[in-house]
């Protein structure tokens, strides 16, 4: 068996394009997931039983089923329900945002729980309306405490994003598999693709632990 990595140079442009699709996709899904996750976490801490149970059921369902099933469901079934055509990119963004929203809401919920009740008493004493309380008192503190978990959620979203190749989105994984099939050199190309994922995933994972250590100091101080 002879390895030959030189042919990869001619494919570097396509690989980079795939990588940029992956990163754009992760960025978009992470942003939507963060917003949706915060809304869900408010639902899960709500005193209204209907809202609480609906959001709890949602979170448990998305955490309890494979992302691949969710992705296929959105890709194949949602267009039938809505009666519109969804591109691979759109359905991938929808599926992964819905999924990451459920995961992210758990990080927010843990952070919300850690906010002392005295903060809420202070809000009442100051006569702040509900909306102001949520946006200016609860949100900043919850976000600060949730940052390490949120970052690691985004890192796992980055890893899960390889799935979208299954619905034909031309991300890094898809491009890599395509080239591997065309040139019949899976070892070189798949190893390089894995290394590219690693080159991004590893520093991100490390960054999470650094941020976590820093924040611990801030919170303790």
């Amino acid at each position: 068996m002879e390895l030959d990595f030189s042919f990869l140079l001619s494919y570097s442009g396509v690989l980079l394009q795939g990588l940029s699709t992956t990163l754009q996709f992760v960025g978009l899904a992470a942003l939507l997931g963060l917003i949706w996750g915060f809304v869900l976490s408010l639902g899960r801490t709500s005193e209204n039983h209907v809202i609480y149970w609906a959001s709890t059921l949602y979170v448990e369902f998305f955490r309890g089923t494979p992302v691949l099933v969710q992705l296929f469901w959105v890709f194949f079934c949602l267009p039938l329900f809505l009666g519109i055509d969804l591109s691979g990119f759109a359905s991938a963004v929808i599926a992964l945002s819905l999924y990451s929203g459920a995961i992210i809401s758990e990080s927010f919920r843990a952070a919300l729980k850690s906010i002392e009740s005295s903060q809420f008493d202070a809000c009442t004493a100051l006569g702040l309306p509900r909306g102001v309380q949520t946006i200016f008192v609860v949100l900043p503190q919850a976000v600060l405490r949730a940052i390490p978990n949120l970052l690691s959620n985004v890192v796992s979203l980055f890893k899960e994003s390889a799935l979208v190749s299954a619905v034909g989105m031309a991300d890094l994984m898809y491009v890599g598999q395509n080239i591997a099939n065309n040139v019949a050199r899976p070892i070189e190309i798949l190893t390089v693709v894995a290394l590219i994922y690693f080159a991004i995933g590893f520093p991100l994972t490390r960054a999470v632990s650094v941020v976590e250590a820093r924040l611990l100091k801030v919170v303790k101080a």
Binding site: F72, F81, K159, G176, P186, L190, G201
Partner: protein, 223 residues
């Protein structure tokens, strides 16, 4: 929305889905067997002071933790046969890739648990004249298992869900059967929803059990 539901085909193909579920469960169990045993060995290796042992293990753990499970699976499926000149089935490759992935995550869980064992225990083992092997089996392993149990089970259900990936390398698991039936019958909504519900029906009770066990161990350790 004017979609007419038709559950006839799903009902008819329930036995196929059940066969798929069995494959999924087998994959999960084997991957967990590898993950629990190999993960503990890796965690022990990471405790070593010899760099020649810890470095390769660190690379192994970080590599499996920082790359998508899908690329690991595809890599095993396409590259292992060429490199080692063996022809193993997709099923076996799936077990291997998922098992090694799980072992990397479990190793971290074990390591945190082993580090939480008070140092006095290893002093006590020396005082009792236990050799290294006895100390690992009778002192470290039971405590590490109890402390790490919630994380180990959570990782285990994670692998149950990740195992759906093997459908992409044509292993006939639940996901594969679901996709096959949905394209054969043009009934994606009914089929894929049923598949999702089956996955949920298995993983939800387990995840509830984890939070129960977690509360129990916390109380156990508090006493």
């Amino acid at each position: 929305m004017n979609y007419e539901f038709n559950w006839f085909y799903v009902q008819k193909s329930l036995p196929d889905l059940f066969d798929g579920l069995l494959v999924t469960l087998q994959l999960t169990l084997w991957a967990n067997a590898i993950g629990l045993v190999f993960g503990f060995l890796v965690a022990l290796g990471m405790m070593s002071k010899i760099k020649l042992i810890t470095w390769p293990l660190t690379i192994y753990i970080e590599f499996f933790r920082c790359t998508p499970a899908l690329i690991q699976l595809v890599w095993f499926f396409f590259c292992v046969p060429i490199i080692f000149n063996v022809w193993w089935s997709g099923y076996f490759m799936g077990i291997l890739a998922l098992g090694l992935n799980l072992a990397a995550f479990n190793a971290e869980a074990y390591r945190a648990a082993i580090q939480a064992i008070p140092h006095s225990h290893s002093d006590a083992s020396v005082a009792l004249g236990l050799n290294a092997f006895q100390r690992i089996i009778h002192v470290i392993l039971p405590q590490a298992l109890i402390l790490a149990l919630p994380v180990l089970i959570t990782n285990g259900i994670g692998i149950f869900q990740q195992s759906a990936l093997v459908a992409l390398i044509s292993v006939e698991d639940l996901m594969y059967q679901g996709r096959y039936i949905s394209t054969q019958t043009f009934r994606p909504i009914e089929t894929l929803t049923t598949v999702a519900l089956i996955y949920f029906a298995v993983s939800f009770p387990v995840s509830q059990a984890v939070s129960y066990i977690e509360r129990r161990t916390k109380r156990l350790l508090a006493n």
